[in-house]
Amino acid sequence: MKYVLLLMGNAGDAECGADEGPDPSEFMAFDEEINAAGIVVGGFALEGPETGVRVSTRATETIVTSGPFAEGGEFVGGSYVIEVADIDEAIAWAKKSPGSTLGHIEIRPLADY
C-alpha cells in the first residue's frame, strides 16, 4: 500500500536547527535511511509557510494572498510517499522520523482510483 507521511510543524514551534528542535543532520540521516530501504516512491520538502501564496476563487473574483499569514497553526513542512505492506510499517517509519519529535507526522493512505 502507498502512504504519504506528512511532516507537520507548528507555527509557534522552534525552527529546525534551533536549540529544542531536531538537528538538520538527524533529518539527513533519516532521509538516507528511508531512501536506502527502497520504499520511497515520491515526496517533497517545502520552504517555510511564510513563503506560501494562497489562491481562492469565489464567484467571479480570484483572490491571491502572500504570506506570512497572521494565523499560526499547523503547516506541512514536507512529505514522503512510501510503498510498504501495511499501516504498521508506515507507523514504524513515522516513529523513526525526527519530525515526530517536535511536530508530528500525519500518515494518510493514498487513495486508490
Binding site: M1, Y3, A85, D86, I87, D88, A90, P109, D112
Partner: protein, 438 residues
C-alpha cells in the same frame, strides 16, 4: 434457514446451523486472513453456505464439511477478485492459488474437502483478534468488530447487547471494516514481538466488553449477563489461542471471579447489594473454582500484570467466608502493586478503600481525602459513595449526606441512584446507616 424442504434439506440445514454456531469465527478468520478483506470473507462464506444447502442435500454431505465450505468460499472470492480491478490490484500479493476445478467446481471441492482434515484448517482467530483491536481503530469499532467476528454475533445481536439501534451498529461495523481496508491494517498472526506489545490492547477490548455488561453507565439494568458471558467466552478463546500468556489467563480468571458474584450483586428489585452485604452462598461456586485455580497459577508467574493482580484480589474476596474475614492487608498490598503497574484514579480509589479496611476508617478517610481533588474522581460516583460511607463510619452523618448528594449528581445507572437516595433518606431520618463498602 429453510421453512420447508425434504428430509435431506432439513438435515443439511441442521448441520449448517451447527457449523455456523460453532465454527463461523474460525472459518471467517481463515478466509479474512487469506483474502485480507473482512467484507469479502463474509460474503463468500455466506454464499458457500447457500451452495452447501443446495448441493449437500442432493449429493451428500462431504466428509469434511468445513473444508468444503472454505474451498468453495475461496474459489468464489477469487472469481470476484478477477472481475474487480480495484480489488485485484489491492489483493495482487495475496498468496492464494485458484483451485483449478476442471469440469465440476463443486465436485472438486468435495474431493479436496475429503483430503483436508479439520486440523488442517488453520486457526487464524488470534490474528483476527489483533486486526480487530488495531490501535488505529476507535474503541467502539474494536468492540463491535470483535463481537461481530470473534464472538460471532449478528449485527442485530451486537446492537441489542450495546443498546443501540441496528442501523447505528450496522453503520459502525461497515465503517470499521472500511477503515481496516483503507488504512491497510494488517491481517495474519502477530510476531512474538507484536504479541508482547499488543496483547494488552486485545485483552483490554475483552475487558471493556465485560465491564459494559457488568455496570452499564446508563440505562436501567445494573448488570447485563449476555455481555458478560460473551466476554468470558472471548477470554476463554484467547487462553486457548495463547495458553502461555499469563495475562490472558489472569483476565479470564478476573472475569470468572467477578461474574461469580453476579447473582448476589443485586436484590430481587434490581437494587445493588454491596460486597459486605452480599449473600455469599449465592456466589457461583463453579465459576469461583475455575477462577481461583487460574489466578493461583498466574499469580506466581513472572509475567503477571494488571489483570493477574486484579484476579488475585478477586480471589481473596472469593476465598473469604465472610466479609469480615477478608484479608484486607493482602488486598492493600496488591492494590499497591496494581497502582505501580497501572496507575490511575480508580486504582487509587480502591487502594484507599482497602486502606480503610486494613488500617481503620481514619486511615481510609485520609487516603480518600488525598484523592478528592483528582480530576478523574471529582465526578466519579463510586468515589463519593466510598467517601460518604467512610464519613458515616466515623460518625459524621452531615458530611456523609453531602458526599451522598455529590454522588447523586454524578453519572450512573438508575439502580445506583435508587440506592443512594435510600441512603440519604435513612441519614435524614436519623436511622443508622447500614455498613457498606467496596
Amino acid at each position: 434457514m429453510v421453512s420447508a424442504g425434504t428430509a435431506e434439506q432439513l438435515a443439511v440445514a441442521q448441520i449448517l446451523r451447527t457449523i455456523d454456531a460453532e465454527d463461523r469465527g474460525r472459518l471467517l478468520a481463515a478466509l479474512a486472513t487469506q483474502l485480507r478483506d473482512l467484507d469479502l470473507a463474509e460474503d463468500v462464506l455466506q454464499e458457500a453456505m447457500v451452495r452447501a444447502l443446495e448441493t449437500w442435500a442432493s449429493r451428500g454431505v462431504p466428509h469434511n464439511p468445513r473444508a468444503w465450505l472454505l474451498t468453495v468460499a475461496k474459489n468464489q472470492a477469487l472469481d470476484i477478485i478477477r472481475s474487480d480491478a480495484v480489488k485485484a490490484r489491492r489483493l495482487a500479493s495475496v498468496p492464494i492459488e485458484h483451485q483449478d476445478t476442471g469440469g465440476d467446481h463443486l465436485d472438486h471441492a468435495v474431493r479436496l474437502g475429503d483430503e483436508l482434515s479439520s486440523v488442517n484448517i488453520p486457526d487464524e482467530r488470534l490474528g483476527l483478534f489483533f486486526t480487530c483491536s488495531h490501535s488505529t481503530l476507535k474503541e467502539r469499532e474494536k468492540i463491535a468488530l470483535i463481537m461481530r467476528f470473534l464472538a460471532g454475533l449478528s449485527t442485530v445481536e451486537v446492537a441489542a447487547a450495546f443498546l443501540v439501534d441496528t442501523r447505528t451498529m450496522q453503520q459502525r461495523i461497515v465503517r470499521a471494516k472500511k477503515r481496516i481496508t483503507t488504512t491497510g491494517i494488517p491481517f495474519g498472526r502477530p510476531s512474538t514481538e507484536q504479541l508482547r506489545e499488543r496483547l494488552p490492547g486485545v485483552l483490554r477490548v475483552v475487558y471493556l466488553i465485560f465491564t459494559q455488561g457488568y455496570t452499564p453507565t446508563t440505562g436501567s439494568a445494573h448488570s447485563r449477563t449476555d455481555l458478560q458471558e460473551e466476554a468470558i467466552a472471548l477470554a476463554r478463546l484467547l487462553v486457548t489461542l495463547v495458553p502461555h500468556e499469563t495475562e490472558a489467563r489472569g483476565l479470564l480468571s478476573l472475569l470468572l471471579l467477578t461474574a461469580s458474584r453476579a447473582q448476589a450483586r443485586t436484590d430481587s428489585a434490581g437494587v445493588p447489594v454491596s460486597l459486605a452485604e452480599q449473600d455469599r452462598r449465592s456466589w457461583d461456586s463453579q465459576l469461583i473454582a475455575e477462577g481461583l485455580s487460574l489466578a493461583l497459577t498466574a499469580a506466581g508467574e513472572t509475567e503477571a500484570g494488571p489483570y493477574t493482580v486484579q484476579a488475585t484480589i478477586a480471589a481473596l474476596h472469593a476465598e473469604a467466608a465472610t466479609y469480615s474475614e477478608t484479608d484486607w492487608e493482602q488486598i492493600l498490598v496488591l492494590y499497591g502493586i496494581l497502582s505501580r503497574l497501572e496507575p490511575g484514579p480508580v486504582v487509587s480509589l480502591n487502594r484507599a478503600v482497602a486502606m480503610g479496611k486494613a488500617k481503620g476508617p481514619e486511615a481510609g478517610l485520609n487516603a480518600l481525602e488525598e484523592l478528592a481533588a483528582h480530576p478523574g474522581l471529582e465526578d466519579y460516583r463510586p468515589f463519593h459513595i466510598a467517601h460518604a460511607l467512610t464519613l458515616n463510619e466515623l460518625g459524621m452523618p452531615e458530611q456523609a449526606g453531602r458526599a451522598f448528594r455529590k454522588a447523586l449528581g454524578c453519572l450512573g445507572n438508575d439502580a445506583e441512584s435508587d440506592y443512594i437516595e435510600t441512603q440519604i433518606r435513612d441519614l435524614l431520618s436519623g436511622k443508622a446507616l447500614k455498613r457498606r463498602s467496596g
